[in-house]
């Protein structure tokens, strides 16, 4: 890691480059985005290898969740860039003749992106796409917990994009702290709420706007489903939404399930069947489930199961392989609500199911806990659907599926409360790295003399009509046909 002096010189250089205006050009932005597309195509094999090394991620999962979604986002940005960059007109009141108003997006300047280890490519490049599309210069800080991926990105990005405008840093908390002490025009952070607070505090010193993509305990509320076809589809989506999403190490992975007591045993049995179908009898051999990122997280997860009451609630799985950092798909039924597994974000392949008397109780359950990044609700009951939307709060809500909202460009992706501040994906990425500048253009020709002091009752009347868009009143006042509402205005006198 460079010294603080070197860092400051680098950043000065980037600001200087930005002020030359290159990054504002549409052609520059397009060339950078195309560069990233080329990177993904040419380095696909290397990316798969790195993800396998850091996380034991299967390459199809890697494609589905990282390379595929990034490709989609890049194509979307390239296709929509022109539209995003053009301003939009604002409506003016009719009295503002010969005036125009519009909102024009402009880049913020020099932005800092903190990526995470669980989707090291996705969570680095997805915000980078937004920052570049919006015309900024970018510093990207990769997570040291996924070292092979960080190394690959640090070595390849400079070869595919303009490295005067995009710089990549590897390293741990010390590097992060050094970066946070600098002044940025925006900070984009993906990670935990605890670190999110530190980022926000550092940003406050410079009044830097921030987007925080945090996490939370994303629940899956599973209602009774009468059709067995629906039940099967639901269970498949739940299983892949937990164990198939980086082994549960995803901010939008299903954290726990809420279901009516009477449905739980069926649910569990179906899950066991589907787990075997998807991952085979001995999941570690399928190589289809990621492993736990490192020993620290492995022990954290192991600890969650130490509590004897929690251990007793395990109904499937529960075996841990410390040497391979592998935990098999595990299901628990009704662990104690005060246990850490039910108060902390799990971020691993342990799936508690909490039983309720009636499914509607889930609403109160959710409202008494911090707002999650996503609420998943599997139901065909329209009334429950409506209540879930209007009576709970979360970053987003998905009905009858999980995780998939990540791939929807037209939906904002972000949290609320403890799960985050701000949003991105699609145009929201562009917006999050832009300043929307309000522009008003006036003509000299239309000058209302009654705007100016010295004030008198007549001018007041005219102004009032103007303010209320009372055009008829305006005309009447000018013609002397409208009586003033107030008594006569006293001219200036000294106290």
């Amino acid at each position: 890691m460079e010294s603080v002096g070197d860092l400051e010189r680098d950043l000065e250089g980037m600001r200087e480059y930005y002020s030359q205006g290159k990054t504002k050009e549409a052609s520059w932005r397009k060339s950078q985005l195309k560069g990233l597309l080329t990177l993904l195509k040419e380095k696909e094999e290397d990316i798969f290898k790195a993800l396998k090394q850091d996380l034991g991620k299967h390459h199809v999962e890697a494609f589905r969740d990282e390379i595929g979604t990034l490709t989609k986002s890049l194509n979307n940005a390239l296709g929509s860039l022109k539209e995003w960059m053009s301003g939009r007109k604002a409506i003016l009141p009719k009295i503002a003749v010969l005036s125009t108003a519009e909102i024009v997006p402009e880049p913020l300047g020099l932005v800092l992106i903190f990526s995470s280890w669980n989707y090291p490519f996705g969570l680095s490049l997805e915000p980078l796409i937004g920052a570049i599309a919006a015309g900024n210069t970018v510093v990207l800080k990769l997570s040291e917990l996924a070292p092979a991926c960080a190394s690959l990105l640090a070595n390849t990005i400079p070869n595919f994009v303009d490295n005067k405008a995009v710089k990549v840093f590897q390293g741990g908390p010390t590097v992060a702290e050094q970066l946070l002490q600098q002044k940025w025009d925006k900070i984009f952070f993906t990670g935990s709420a605890r670190t999110g607070r530190l980022v926000l505090s550092a940003a406050a010193k410079h009044l830097t706007p921030v987007t925080l993509e945090l996490g939370g305990k994303c629940p899956a509320v599973v209602d009774s489903l009468s059709s067995s076809f629906d039940r099967k589809a639901a269970v498949k989506r739940i299983v892949v939404g937990k164990y198939g999403a980086c082994a549960g190490q995803a901010c939008i992975a299903i954290d726990y399930i809420l279901a009516e007591r009477k449905n739980i045993s069926t649910l569990v049995e179906m899950m066991k069947v589907i787990i075997k179908e998807m991952f085979g009898g001995n999941p570690i051999e399928s190589h289809s489930i990621a492993r736990i990122i490192n020993k620290q997280h492995f022990l954290r997860l192991k600890n969650l199961l130490e509590d004897p009451n929690v251990k007793a609630s395990i109904v499937y799985g529960g075996s841990l392989d410390e040497d391979h950092l592998f935990i098999e798909p595990t299901i628990l039924v009704d662990p104690p609500l005060e246990a850490a597994i039910m108060t902390e974000e799990i971020f691993g392949p342990l799936l508690p199911i909490i039983s309720l008397e009636k499914i509607e109780d889930s609403i109160q359950f959710l409202n008494s806990r911090p707002k999650p990044l996503a609420i998943y609700c599997f139901t065909k009951n329209k009334s429950l659907e409506r209540r879930m939307i209007s009576e709970t709060s979360s970053g987003g809500v998905v009905f009858n599926d999980a995780i998939i909202q990540y791939a929807a460009d037209s939906l904002p992706f972000g949290g609320v409360g403890e799960s985050g501040v701000g949003r991105y994906h699609g145009k929201f990425s562009f917006d999050t790295f832009s300043h929307e500048k309000a522009i008003t253009r006036r003509s000299f020709l239309t000058d209302f003399w009654f705007r100016y002091p010295p004030w008198n009752a007549h001018k007041w009347q005219l102004l009032e009509c103007a303010y209320n868009s009372d055009y008829l009143g305006l005309l009447l006042v000018i013609l002397g046909l409208k009586k003033p509402r107030r008594g006569s205005y006293q001219p200036a006198y000294s106290h």
């Binding site: 299967h58 390459h59 199809v60 494609f63 595929g68 979604t69 490709t71 604002a90 409506i91 108003a101 909102i103 402009e106 913020l108 300047g109 607070r197 926000l200 505090s201 406050a204 010193k205 009044l207 706007p209 059709s227 892949v240 198939g244 998807m278 991952f279 399928s286 289809s288 939307i389 209007s390 709060s393 970053g395 987003g396 998905v398 998939i404 791939a407 929807a408 460009d409 939906l411 609320v416 403890e418 701000g422 500048k437 309000a438 522009i439 008003t440 006036r442 003509s443 000299f444 000058d447 705007r451 100016y452 002091p453 007041w460 009032e464 303010y467 209320n468 001219p491 200036a492 006198y493």
Partner: protein, 490 residues
């Protein structure tokens, strides 16, 4: 009388915590979610403003010696307009926005649903104490939140009036006013809010954001800066001058966040501009502006001292070309123009927020853009010119919260434009629908059917599934079909 005195008792950390809990409980009942509740509260604000306009004028006269017309138009009328717009458009704003979905989530439908954030804190300033207290509150209520308003203690008459009126007209289980100064604000800032809106200066803005950071609370900061006015030659000088004067001295005597702070013009044009300003100033405020009733006074002796100090600075006082008169007993300072005060003087580096207008001359008018960009980004930037190319260059290169060509200040009254700063001048924006958005969480909702279940997503992972996924992501139906039939090239 007794009731009003009670509200003046300082709120400490315990009281603040109880207050927030009370409002959270109120919010949890779901009352604020209903359209009826929100509209009824907004209508109460309208009624409050209509019934008590006279009281507002008196309070503003007491706090700022604000001319009656400014109070009625720039505070009361603006607030009423903002409120009427919200009442008119609320139903529309509350409707979820349907969005298109693509092949990656097919089949599905999606919408973005606005929901309230919860309990919000609005901290308002002293210069437009009525408008800038209630305008954000309108947005907060429209979006369905419970609100605590902390008006500025530097404008005590208005603060007191707001406490009384909100107490009388609004639903006190969900909307409250807390009066007080630094101690009370600190106690409030220690609590967990779902959003904080602060209008004021950058120093306190940082304090607010740091306090918010502890609770991951999002903030809307409406700050300030030195809003420059670039004046080109070849313009209608009389109209331009009037608009500059109206924006500077006609708006609370320069104590406005978007007031023209200083002027940039060419060496050649400066004398003409100074003459025009002097001429129009006399029309507006008479020969003895200290006697004019159409000028606000300086809010208090602190700011009066601050402003006179700016003029007294060593190499600055010699550059005064007009005005420079002040009267400590009435806290009045006359419209003052300076020509080429030194670039490193305080008056050229701090936000003036008063009736002093420095003019900085440059060789060519384009040079002014670099000068502006070398400073921190202001809340507003103004340009007077007839040159189309210059206009476009200005818009493209000068970064500010908002830009106005050939006028000043009035972009605030355009409800269709977001009002907010960038970098040092603030973060976030409001006015019109932007107010509703600022106090809402836009929740993404995706509806999926069980029917379209693509096995492609699920393990066990196979080459065929990968091929199909690639084809789908690529958006090519043909490749997708090929892949389905196992007819792909790779």
């Amino acid at each position: 009388m007794a009731a009003m005195e009670e509200t003046k008792v300082g709120v400490d950390a315990d009281a603040a915590s109880r207050l927030v809990k009370e409002l959270r409980d109120g919010f949890a009942t779901g009352k604020t979610r209903s359209y009826q509740w929100r509209v009824s509260q907004l209508k109460s604000i309208l009624k409050m403003a209509e019934d008590h306009e006279h009281d507002v004028v008196e309070a503003l006269r007491s706090d700022l010696s604000k001319p009656e017309l400014e109070s009625c138009l720039y505070e009361v009328a603006m607030l009423k307009n903002s409120c009427s717009l919200a009442v008119k458009k609320l139903k529309q704003w509350m409707v979820p926005e349907k969005v298109k979905t693509s092949i990656t989530t097919f089949p599905s439908s999606a919408e973005i649903v606005p929901e309230p954030l919860g309990v919000v804190l609005v901290i308002s300033p002293w210069n437009y104490p009525f408008l800038l207290s209630l305008d954000p509150v309108i947005g907060a209520i429209a979006a369905g939140n419970a609100v605590v308003l902390k008006p500025s203690e530097v404008s005590p008459a208005t603060s007191s009036l707001l406490a009384k009126l909100v107490g009388e007209y609004m639903d006190n289980s969900l909307i409250r006013v807390v009066e007080g100064g630094v101690a009370e604000t600190t106690a409030l800032l220690e609590q967990k809010w779902d959003k904080i809106c602060y209008t004021g200066n950058g120093r306190v803005g940082r304090i607010v954001m740091a306090a918010a950071a502890k609770h991951l609370t999002p903030v809307l900061l409406e700050l300030g800066g030195k809003s420059p006015v670039v004046v080109d030659s070849g313009i209608n000088l009389q109209v331009a001058t009037r608009r500059i004067i109206a924006g500077k001295w006609g708006c609370n005597n320069g104590q406005t966040c978007v007031a023209p702070d200083y002027i940039l013009t060419t060496k050649d044009f400066a004398p003409k501009l100074v003459d025009a300003l002097k001429h129009e100033l006399e029309h507006f405020f008479g020969e003895n502006p200290l006697d004019s009733k159409d000028l606000s006074r300086i809010v208090n002796s602190n700011h009066f001292a601050r402003l006179t100090k700016l003029l007294d600075e060593d190499r600055v006082s010699g550059t005064i070309v007009h005005g420079g008169k002040s009267e400590k007993s009435t806290l009045k300072i006359s419209p003052t123009i300076l020509l080429d005060a030194p670039r490193d003087s305080l008056i050229m580096n701090e936000e003036i927020f008063g009736p002093l207008l420095p003019i900085l001359t440059v060789e060519k008018v384009e040079d002014s853009f670099d000068i502006i960009n070398s400073g921190t980004k202001p809340l507003a930037a103004y340009l007077f010119t007839s040159n189309k190319k210059l206009k476009e260059q200005f818009v493209m290169t000068v970064s500010a919260g908002g830009v106005v060509i050939n006028d000043t200040v009035l972009h605030l009254s355009v409800a269709g434009l977001p009002f907010g700063g960038v970098q040092e001048s603030g973060m976030g924006a409001y006015h019109g629908k932007f107010s509703f958005d600022a106090f809402s969480h836009k929740k993404a909702v995706l509806y999926r059917s069980f029917a379209g279940d693509a096995p492609v997503r699920y393990p066990p992972y196979t080459k065929g599934k990968l091929r199909l996924m690639k084809a789908l992501i690529g958006g090519s139906i043909l490749s997708a079909i090929f892949a389905l039939f196992g007819l792909s090239k790779d």
